[in-house]
Protein backbone atom coordinates (compact mmCIF):
# COMPACT_ATOMS: atom_id res chain seq x y z
CA UNK A 1 0.00 0.00 0.00
CA UNK A 2 1.30 3.41 -0.91
CA UNK A 3 1.22 5.96 1.85
CA UNK A 4 -0.54 8.93 0.29
CA UNK A 5 0.88 11.44 2.72
CA UNK A 6 -2.50 12.45 4.07
CA UNK A 7 -2.73 12.03 7.81
CA UNK A 8 -5.41 9.62 8.94
CA UNK A 9 -8.56 11.10 10.34
CA UNK A 10 -8.01 14.51 8.79
CA UNK A 11 -10.05 16.69 11.10
CA UNK A 12 -13.55 17.32 9.91
CA UNK A 13 -12.08 18.23 6.51
CA UNK A 14 -15.35 18.37 4.64
CA UNK A 15 -17.17 20.27 7.34
CA UNK A 16 -18.80 23.60 6.57
CA UNK A 17 -16.47 26.23 8.10
CA UNK A 18 -19.29 27.67 10.17
CA UNK A 19 -20.05 24.30 11.77
CA UNK A 20 -16.36 23.61 12.16
CA UNK A 21 -16.02 26.85 14.14
CA UNK A 22 -18.87 25.87 16.47
CA UNK A 23 -17.31 22.43 17.00
CA UNK A 24 -13.89 23.98 17.69
CA UNK A 25 -15.32 26.18 20.43
CA UNK A 26 -17.19 23.18 21.79
CA UNK A 27 -13.89 21.28 21.90
CA UNK A 28 -12.18 24.09 23.84
CA UNK A 29 -14.90 24.01 26.45
CA UNK A 30 -15.12 20.23 26.70
CA UNK A 31 -11.38 19.67 27.03
CA UNK A 32 -11.01 22.40 29.65
CA UNK A 33 -14.01 21.03 31.57
CA UNK A 34 -12.33 17.63 31.62
CA UNK A 35 -9.06 19.15 32.85
CA UNK A 36 -10.83 21.05 35.64
CA UNK A 37 -12.86 17.97 36.50
CA UNK A 38 -9.62 16.12 37.20
CA UNK A 39 -9.03 18.52 40.09
CA UNK A 40 -12.22 17.78 41.98
CA UNK A 41 -11.26 16.87 45.56
CA UNK A 42 -7.65 17.96 44.83
CA UNK A 43 -7.91 21.75 45.01
CA UNK A 44 -5.99 23.58 47.75
CA UNK A 45 -9.17 24.64 49.61
CA UNK A 46 -12.78 23.53 49.70
CA UNK A 47 -14.02 26.86 48.26
CA UNK A 48 -11.57 26.58 45.37
CA UNK A 49 -12.61 23.00 44.79
CA UNK A 50 -16.20 24.15 44.47
CA UNK A 51 -15.20 27.08 42.28
CA UNK A 52 -13.21 24.92 39.86
CA UNK A 53 -16.02 22.37 39.76
CA UNK A 54 -18.54 25.11 38.98
CA UNK A 55 -16.34 26.55 36.25
CA UNK A 56 -15.94 23.07 34.79
CA UNK A 57 -19.72 22.65 34.74
CA UNK A 58 -20.16 25.94 32.90
CA UNK A 59 -17.65 24.87 30.25
CA UNK A 60 -19.28 21.47 29.95
CA UNK A 61 -22.69 23.09 29.52
CA UNK A 62 -21.37 25.40 26.81
CA UNK A 63 -19.74 22.45 25.02
CA UNK A 64 -22.97 20.45 25.10
CA UNK A 65 -25.02 23.35 23.73
CA UNK A 66 -22.49 24.01 20.94
CA UNK A 67 -22.20 20.36 19.91
CA UNK A 68 -25.97 19.94 19.88
CA UNK A 69 -26.29 23.07 17.77
CA UNK A 70 -23.52 21.96 15.39
CA UNK A 71 -25.29 18.63 14.95
CA UNK A 72 -28.59 20.33 14.18
CA UNK A 73 -27.08 22.75 11.68
CA UNK A 74 -25.13 19.93 10.03
CA UNK A 75 -28.34 17.90 9.76
CA UNK A 76 -26.59 14.54 9.55
CA UNK A 77 -27.93 13.28 12.87
CA UNK A 78 -24.76 13.73 14.93
CA UNK A 79 -25.43 14.22 18.64
CA UNK A 80 -23.39 15.88 21.37
CA UNK A 81 -22.06 12.43 22.30
CA UNK A 82 -20.88 11.80 18.74
CA UNK A 83 -18.77 14.94 18.91
CA UNK A 84 -17.49 14.42 22.46
CA UNK A 85 -17.00 10.68 22.68
CA UNK A 86 -16.61 9.31 19.16
CA UNK A 87 -13.94 11.48 17.58
CA UNK A 88 -10.22 10.88 17.67
CA UNK A 89 -7.43 13.17 18.75
CA UNK A 90 -6.78 14.39 15.18
CA UNK A 91 -10.43 15.36 14.87
CA UNK A 92 -10.42 17.58 17.96
CA UNK A 93 -9.97 21.25 17.08
CA UNK A 94 -9.35 22.73 20.52
CA UNK A 95 -6.65 25.23 21.35
CA UNK A 96 -3.43 23.74 22.69
CA UNK A 97 -3.65 25.77 25.90
CA UNK A 98 -6.73 24.01 27.27
CA UNK A 99 -5.26 20.52 26.93
CA UNK A 100 -2.16 21.39 28.98
CA UNK A 101 -1.97 19.49 32.29
CA UNK A 102 -3.26 21.05 35.49
CA UNK A 103 0.23 21.28 37.02
CA UNK A 104 0.26 23.14 40.31
CA UNK A 105 -2.43 25.67 41.29
CA UNK A 106 -0.44 28.44 39.57
CA UNK A 107 -0.62 26.58 36.24
CA UNK A 108 -4.34 25.87 36.66
CA UNK A 109 -5.10 29.52 37.39
CA UNK A 110 -2.87 31.00 34.69
CA UNK A 111 -4.28 28.61 32.06
CA UNK A 112 -7.79 29.58 33.09
CA UNK A 113 -6.96 33.28 33.23
CA UNK A 114 -5.52 33.35 29.68
CA UNK A 115 -8.57 31.46 28.46
CA UNK A 116 -11.08 33.64 30.33
CA UNK A 117 -9.70 36.83 28.77
CA UNK A 118 -9.99 35.18 25.33
CA UNK A 119 -13.49 33.85 25.93
CA UNK A 120 -14.82 37.19 27.10
CA UNK A 121 -13.74 38.71 23.79
CA UNK A 122 -15.01 35.73 21.81
CA UNK A 123 -18.49 35.60 23.36
CA UNK A 124 -18.95 39.35 23.10
CA UNK A 125 -18.27 38.91 19.39
CA UNK A 126 -20.53 35.89 18.87
CA UNK A 127 -23.37 37.38 20.94
CA UNK A 128 -24.23 39.44 17.86
CA UNK A 129 -23.95 36.53 15.40
CA UNK A 130 -26.67 36.16 12.74
CA UNK A 131 -27.23 32.61 13.98
CA UNK A 132 -29.61 33.41 16.85
CA UNK A 133 -29.04 30.13 18.70
CA UNK A 134 -25.28 30.65 18.64
CA UNK A 135 -25.84 34.26 19.75
CA UNK A 136 -27.99 33.04 22.66
CA UNK A 137 -25.38 30.50 23.78
CA UNK A 138 -22.69 33.18 23.48
CA UNK A 139 -24.50 35.89 25.39
CA UNK A 140 -25.09 33.57 28.31
CA UNK A 141 -21.50 32.25 28.19
CA UNK A 142 -20.23 35.85 28.11
CA UNK A 143 -21.59 36.49 31.59
CA UNK A 144 -20.13 33.23 32.86
CA UNK A 145 -16.72 33.99 31.34
CA UNK A 146 -16.77 37.41 33.03
CA UNK A 147 -17.53 35.73 36.35
CA UNK A 148 -14.71 33.20 35.87
CA UNK A 149 -12.38 36.04 34.89
CA UNK A 150 -13.09 37.94 38.12
CA UNK A 151 -12.13 34.81 40.04
CA UNK A 152 -8.96 34.00 38.11
CA UNK A 153 -7.65 37.57 37.79
CA UNK A 154 -8.02 38.07 41.54
CA UNK A 155 -5.96 34.92 42.12
CA UNK A 156 -3.34 35.97 39.57
CA UNK A 157 -2.88 39.23 41.49
CA UNK A 158 -3.00 37.66 44.94
CA UNK A 159 -0.44 34.97 44.12
CA UNK A 160 1.78 37.02 41.79
CA UNK A 161 1.93 39.76 44.39
CA UNK A 162 2.06 37.29 47.27
CA UNK A 163 5.02 35.49 48.81
CA UNK A 164 8.34 34.81 47.14
CA UNK A 165 7.24 31.23 46.62
CA UNK A 166 3.82 32.06 45.13
CA UNK A 167 5.36 34.73 42.88
CA UNK A 168 8.00 32.31 41.59
CA UNK A 169 5.40 29.63 40.86
CA UNK A 170 3.15 32.09 39.04
CA UNK A 171 6.00 33.38 36.90
CA UNK A 172 6.97 29.78 36.06
CA UNK A 173 3.38 29.10 35.00
CA UNK A 174 3.21 32.25 32.85
CA UNK A 175 6.56 31.38 31.21
CA UNK A 176 5.54 27.77 30.63
CA UNK A 177 2.10 28.44 29.17
CA UNK A 178 2.93 31.57 27.17
CA UNK A 179 3.95 29.60 24.08
CA UNK A 180 0.39 28.28 23.77
CA UNK A 181 -1.25 31.70 23.75
CA UNK A 182 -0.43 32.69 20.15
CA UNK A 183 -3.27 30.75 18.53
CA UNK A 184 -5.62 31.72 21.37
CA UNK A 185 -5.04 35.45 21.08
CA UNK A 186 -4.83 35.39 17.26
CA UNK A 187 -8.37 36.69 16.65
CA UNK A 188 -7.88 39.62 19.08
CA UNK A 189 -4.09 39.98 19.47
CA UNK A 190 -3.80 43.57 20.74
CA UNK A 191 -6.76 43.72 23.07
CA UNK A 192 -6.05 40.25 24.48
CA UNK A 193 -2.43 41.11 25.19
CA UNK A 194 -3.35 44.47 26.66
CA UNK A 195 -5.88 42.98 29.08
CA UNK A 196 -3.55 40.17 30.12
CA UNK A 197 -0.62 42.51 30.54
CA UNK A 198 -2.62 44.91 32.73
CA UNK A 199 -3.42 42.16 35.24
CA UNK A 200 0.07 40.64 35.08
CA UNK A 201 1.60 44.08 35.74
CA UNK A 202 -0.59 44.53 38.77
CA UNK A 203 0.53 41.08 39.93
CA UNK A 204 4.22 41.95 39.41
CA UNK A 205 4.50 39.27 36.71
CA UNK A 206 6.09 39.65 33.30
CA UNK A 207 5.44 38.33 29.81
CA UNK A 208 8.40 36.25 28.59
CA UNK A 209 10.61 37.72 25.85
CA UNK A 210 10.80 34.49 23.85
CA UNK A 211 8.48 34.99 20.85
CA UNK A 212 8.28 31.25 20.02
CA UNK A 213 4.70 30.01 19.75
CA UNK A 214 3.28 26.55 19.26
CA UNK A 215 0.14 26.38 17.16
CA UNK A 216 -1.91 23.75 15.35
CA UNK A 217 -4.79 22.98 17.69
CA UNK A 218 -7.40 24.40 15.33
CA UNK A 219 -6.06 22.07 12.61
CA UNK A 220 -6.10 19.02 14.85
CA UNK A 221 -2.35 18.93 15.56
CA UNK A 222 -2.05 18.57 19.31
CA UNK A 223 0.51 18.28 22.04
CA UNK A 224 1.10 14.84 23.54
CA UNK A 225 -1.35 15.55 26.35
CA UNK A 226 -4.64 15.49 24.46
CA UNK A 227 -4.51 11.80 23.52
CA UNK A 228 -4.15 10.79 27.17
CA UNK A 229 -7.00 13.05 28.19
CA UNK A 230 -9.30 11.62 25.52
CA UNK A 231 -8.32 8.05 26.36
CA UNK A 232 -9.56 8.59 29.90
CA UNK A 233 -12.61 10.64 28.96
CA UNK A 234 -13.79 8.33 26.16
CA UNK A 235 -12.91 4.90 27.48
CA UNK A 236 -16.39 4.03 28.70
CA UNK A 237 -17.99 4.84 25.35
CA UNK A 238 -15.20 3.00 23.55
CA UNK A 239 -15.54 -0.06 25.80
CA UNK A 240 -19.35 -0.11 25.76
CA UNK A 241 -20.45 1.67 22.57
CA UNK A 242 -23.83 3.36 22.86
CA UNK A 243 -23.97 2.95 26.61
CA UNK A 244 -26.70 5.06 28.20
CA UNK A 245 -26.56 6.44 31.72
Amino acid sequence: MIFAGVPQGTPEAGLDPRIRMVVAHGDDNLVLAQRLGELISWAPELEIDIALGNIALDHLGVARALYTHAGEVEGAGRTEDDFAMRRTEREFLNLLLVEQPDGDFAHTIVRQFFFDVYQRLLWADLATADDSTLAGIASRAAKEAAYHHEFTSSWVIRLGDGTEESHARMQTAVDGLWRFTGELSAPYPDVWRHQVETTLNEAGLTIPDDPYQRTGGRDGYHTEHLGHLLAEMQWMERAYPGLEW
Binding site: I50, L57, H59
Partner: protein, 152 residues
Protein backbone atom coordinates in the same frame (compact mmCIF):
# COMPACT_ATOMS: atom_id res chain seq x y z
CA UNK B 1 -50.71 27.42 18.42
CA UNK B 2 -51.93 28.36 21.90
CA UNK B 3 -55.12 26.32 22.20
CA UNK B 4 -57.23 25.96 25.34
CA UNK B 5 -55.54 22.60 25.90
CA UNK B 6 -52.14 24.27 25.62
CA UNK B 7 -53.22 26.93 28.11
CA UNK B 8 -54.45 24.31 30.57
CA UNK B 9 -51.24 22.35 30.18
CA UNK B 10 -49.15 25.45 30.69
CA UNK B 11 -50.37 25.75 34.28
CA UNK B 12 -49.60 22.05 34.85
CA UNK B 13 -46.17 22.16 33.26
CA UNK B 14 -45.48 25.54 34.87
CA UNK B 15 -45.92 24.08 38.33
CA UNK B 16 -42.95 21.71 37.93
CA UNK B 17 -40.41 22.77 40.55
CA UNK B 18 -36.68 23.33 40.28
CA UNK B 19 -35.08 20.26 41.92
CA UNK B 20 -32.32 22.37 43.50
CA UNK B 21 -34.54 25.23 44.72
CA UNK B 22 -37.85 23.43 45.22
CA UNK B 23 -39.57 26.61 46.37
CA UNK B 24 -39.49 27.89 42.76
CA UNK B 25 -41.49 26.59 39.84
CA UNK B 26 -40.18 26.75 36.30
CA UNK B 27 -42.80 29.47 35.69
CA UNK B 28 -41.32 31.52 38.58
CA UNK B 29 -37.84 31.02 37.15
CA UNK B 30 -38.91 32.15 33.72
CA UNK B 31 -37.43 29.14 31.97
CA UNK B 32 -40.78 27.94 30.61
CA UNK B 33 -40.98 29.80 27.32
CA UNK B 34 -44.10 28.32 25.76
CA UNK B 35 -46.56 25.46 25.61
CA UNK B 36 -48.06 25.07 22.13
CA UNK B 37 -50.24 22.62 20.33
CA UNK B 38 -48.95 21.64 16.90
CA UNK B 39 -51.50 19.30 15.36
CA UNK B 40 -51.80 16.44 17.83
CA UNK B 41 -48.52 17.25 19.48
CA UNK B 42 -47.85 19.37 22.54
CA UNK B 43 -44.57 21.28 22.25
CA UNK B 44 -43.01 22.57 25.46
CA UNK B 45 -40.14 25.03 25.00
CA UNK B 46 -37.73 25.75 27.83
CA UNK B 47 -34.53 27.79 28.01
CA UNK B 48 -31.72 26.59 30.27
CA UNK B 49 -30.51 28.88 33.05
CA UNK B 50 -26.74 28.69 33.55
CA UNK B 51 -24.74 26.67 31.02
CA UNK B 52 -23.60 24.40 33.79
CA UNK B 53 -26.92 23.85 35.50
CA UNK B 54 -27.20 20.09 36.04
CA UNK B 55 -30.88 20.38 37.01
CA UNK B 56 -32.03 20.94 33.42
CA UNK B 57 -32.18 17.26 32.56
CA UNK B 58 -34.18 16.58 35.72
CA UNK B 59 -36.57 19.39 34.83
CA UNK B 60 -37.12 17.86 31.38
CA UNK B 61 -37.91 14.51 32.98
CA UNK B 62 -40.29 16.16 35.44
CA UNK B 63 -42.11 18.00 32.65
CA UNK B 64 -42.52 14.69 30.82
CA UNK B 65 -43.89 13.04 33.98
CA UNK B 66 -46.32 15.91 34.57
CA UNK B 67 -47.67 15.57 31.02
CA UNK B 68 -47.95 11.80 31.19
CA UNK B 69 -49.77 12.09 34.54
CA UNK B 70 -52.59 14.04 32.88
CA UNK B 71 -52.80 11.66 29.95
CA UNK B 72 -50.76 13.59 27.37
CA UNK B 73 -48.75 11.10 25.39
CA UNK B 74 -47.70 12.95 22.27
CA UNK B 75 -45.35 15.72 23.24
CA UNK B 76 -41.92 17.13 22.59
CA UNK B 77 -39.68 19.18 24.88
CA UNK B 78 -37.55 21.68 23.02
CA UNK B 79 -34.52 23.23 24.71
CA UNK B 80 -34.07 26.61 23.09
CA UNK B 81 -30.94 28.72 23.35
CA UNK B 82 -32.44 31.38 21.14
CA UNK B 83 -32.27 34.34 23.50
CA UNK B 84 -30.28 33.67 26.63
CA UNK B 85 -32.06 33.28 29.94
CA UNK B 86 -31.28 36.00 32.47
CA UNK B 87 -32.23 36.40 36.11
CA UNK B 88 -34.47 39.28 34.93
CA UNK B 89 -36.88 36.56 33.81
CA UNK B 90 -37.49 35.46 37.40
CA UNK B 91 -40.94 36.73 38.32
CA UNK B 92 -41.72 39.06 41.22
CA UNK B 93 -43.44 36.16 42.96
CA UNK B 94 -40.34 34.04 42.40
CA UNK B 95 -38.17 36.71 44.02
CA UNK B 96 -40.44 36.86 47.05
CA UNK B 97 -40.38 33.08 47.37
CA UNK B 98 -36.58 33.06 47.21
CA UNK B 99 -36.27 35.66 49.97
CA UNK B 100 -38.79 33.75 52.10
CA UNK B 101 -36.71 30.60 51.60
CA UNK B 102 -33.57 32.37 52.90
CA UNK B 103 -31.94 32.98 49.52
CA UNK B 104 -31.21 36.62 48.63
CA UNK B 105 -32.82 37.21 45.22
CA UNK B 106 -30.71 38.37 42.28
CA UNK B 107 -29.49 41.97 42.56
CA UNK B 108 -26.12 43.61 41.99
CA UNK B 109 -23.87 42.36 44.77
CA UNK B 110 -23.64 45.81 46.46
CA UNK B 111 -27.42 45.86 46.89
CA UNK B 112 -27.85 42.44 48.49
CA UNK B 113 -29.78 42.46 51.77
CA UNK B 114 -29.63 39.73 54.39
CA UNK B 115 -32.77 37.60 53.89
CA UNK B 116 -33.04 37.17 57.66
CA UNK B 117 -32.61 40.70 59.09
CA UNK B 118 -32.41 42.86 55.93
CA UNK B 119 -28.91 43.92 57.04
CA UNK B 120 -27.00 45.85 54.37
CA UNK B 121 -23.59 45.19 52.89
CA UNK B 122 -23.18 41.50 53.65
CA UNK B 123 -19.74 40.03 53.01
CA UNK B 124 -19.02 37.68 50.10
CA UNK B 125 -17.51 34.43 51.42
CA UNK B 126 -17.33 32.43 48.21
CA UNK B 127 -18.08 33.49 44.67
CA UNK B 128 -19.08 29.94 43.81
CA UNK B 129 -21.61 28.30 46.09
CA UNK B 130 -23.59 25.11 46.47
CA UNK B 131 -25.13 25.33 43.00
CA UNK B 132 -24.20 27.06 39.75
CA UNK B 133 -26.64 29.90 40.44
CA UNK B 134 -25.54 30.86 43.94
CA UNK B 135 -22.75 32.64 45.81
CA UNK B 136 -22.22 32.32 49.56
CA UNK B 137 -22.46 35.44 51.74
CA UNK B 138 -22.59 36.28 55.42
CA UNK B 139 -24.60 39.09 57.06
CA UNK B 140 -22.50 41.84 58.66
CA UNK B 141 -25.30 42.62 61.14
CA UNK B 142 -26.75 39.33 62.39
CA UNK B 143 -23.94 36.99 61.30
CA UNK B 144 -26.24 34.68 59.33
CA UNK B 145 -24.57 32.93 56.39
CA UNK B 146 -26.85 32.75 53.35
CA UNK B 147 -26.97 32.07 49.63
CA UNK B 148 -27.28 34.83 47.08
CA UNK B 149 -28.87 34.01 43.74
CA UNK B 150 -26.28 35.57 41.42
CA UNK B 151 -27.52 38.23 39.07
CA UNK B 152 -26.88 37.11 35.52
Amino acid sequence: MVTQLALDLRSIVGSVVDPEIPVLTIEDLGILRSVDQVGDEIVVTITPTYSGCPAMRQIEDDIASALVAVGVETFRIVVSHDEAWTTDWITREGREKLAGFGIAPPTPIEEVLCPRCSGERPRLIARFGSTACKALMVCSSCGEPFDHFKQF
